[in-house]
């Protein structure tokens, strides 16, 4: 399964809905999307991972890269994920301390630092 990406603006947040598998082959596509959004001035991102079937460290690297980019503009990158197998990867790498992870897009959009 390939990667699917779509974006939507909700208030001052940009929601990126990701579907499929994020791995060494597809991660560059997600990286391009995040870089493009930041370059276009979208500094508050919500990445909805509810449609993600598989995530590896390459995908984690892309998300960390996205976080670095938005933070350079005092922005934010929030994740939406309820899938235990995906959350486990964030836990074992310690990234649950780095990313705010929400249970719904609504929750992530309304959240403030």
């Amino acid at each position: 399964m390939d990667l699917s990406l779509s974006t939507e603006t909700v208030g001052d947040r940009t929601v990126v809905r990701v579907g499929g598998e994020i791995d060494v082959y597809t991660a560059p596509k997600l990286r391009e999307q995040l870089v493009e959004l930041v370059n276009d001035g979208n500094y508050h991102l919500v990445v909805d991972m509810e449609g993600v079937d598989f995530l590896d460290s390459t995908g984690l690297g892309v998300l960390v890269g996205g976080l670095k980019r938005v933070r350079a503009h005092e922005g934010s990158l929030r994740l939406v994920c309820n899938q235990e197998r995906i959350l486990k990867i964030f836990r074992i790498t310690g990234l649950t301390k780095v990313f705010p992870i929400h249970t719904s897009v609504e929750d992530a959009v309304q959240a403030t630092d």
């Binding site: 590896d56 996205g66 074992i92 790498t93």
Partner: protein, 149 residues
């Protein structure tokens, strides 16, 4: 001992194939369904790392994956041909406590994170590397009674 061996060109698009094959063989070997996601992720990490090493060092030989079904365990070996300057050994289960540095442009950060994920996921893992290449060995216990006939 039943063994499946997979050789693939060091291209990112083939890593998914390796994941699918490894998960299929693991299921048949009797690895618990709840653990198959871990097998899939761990072999994907190991293969991604090997592909990255081959690509960055312009090595044309394929990446080798050996899947071995034993009486009590299912083992995976992922071998690369990239010469390594130093040998490393990772044998501490669940020891990935801190997040290594990652870089969205790829490179050593992602390589380290891949190993961190593997060592966090797999209880029995051994990483070795030398002048002739590197090898990641991983194994999971099997329950033969539940193996597919």
């Amino acid at each position: 001992m039943a063994t499946v061996e997979l050789l693939f060109s060091a291209l990112p698009e083939h890593v998914r194939t390796a994941r699918l094959v490894a998960a299929a063989v693991a299921r048949r070997a009797g690895v618990d369904e709840a653990v198959l996601d871990e097998v899939r992720l761990a072999v994907g990490e190991a293969c991604s790392r090997a592909v990255g090493l081959h690509v960055s060092q312009e090595i044309s030989s394929p990446v080798r994956v050996v899947l071995t079904e034993d009486e009590k365990k299912f083992s995976i070996e992922v071998a690369d041909d990239a010469p390594h300057a130093i040998s490393v050994a990772v044998a501490t289960p669940g020891s990935a406590g801190t997040a290594p540095a990652a870089d969205d442009a790829g490179g050593d950060g992602e390589d380290d994170m891949g190993l961190a994920v593997i060592s966090g996921l797999v209880d029995d893992v051994e990483v070795s590397a030398g002048a002739d290449g590197g090898l990641i060995r991983m194994s999971w216990p099997t329950t033969p009674a539940s193996a597919t006939p």
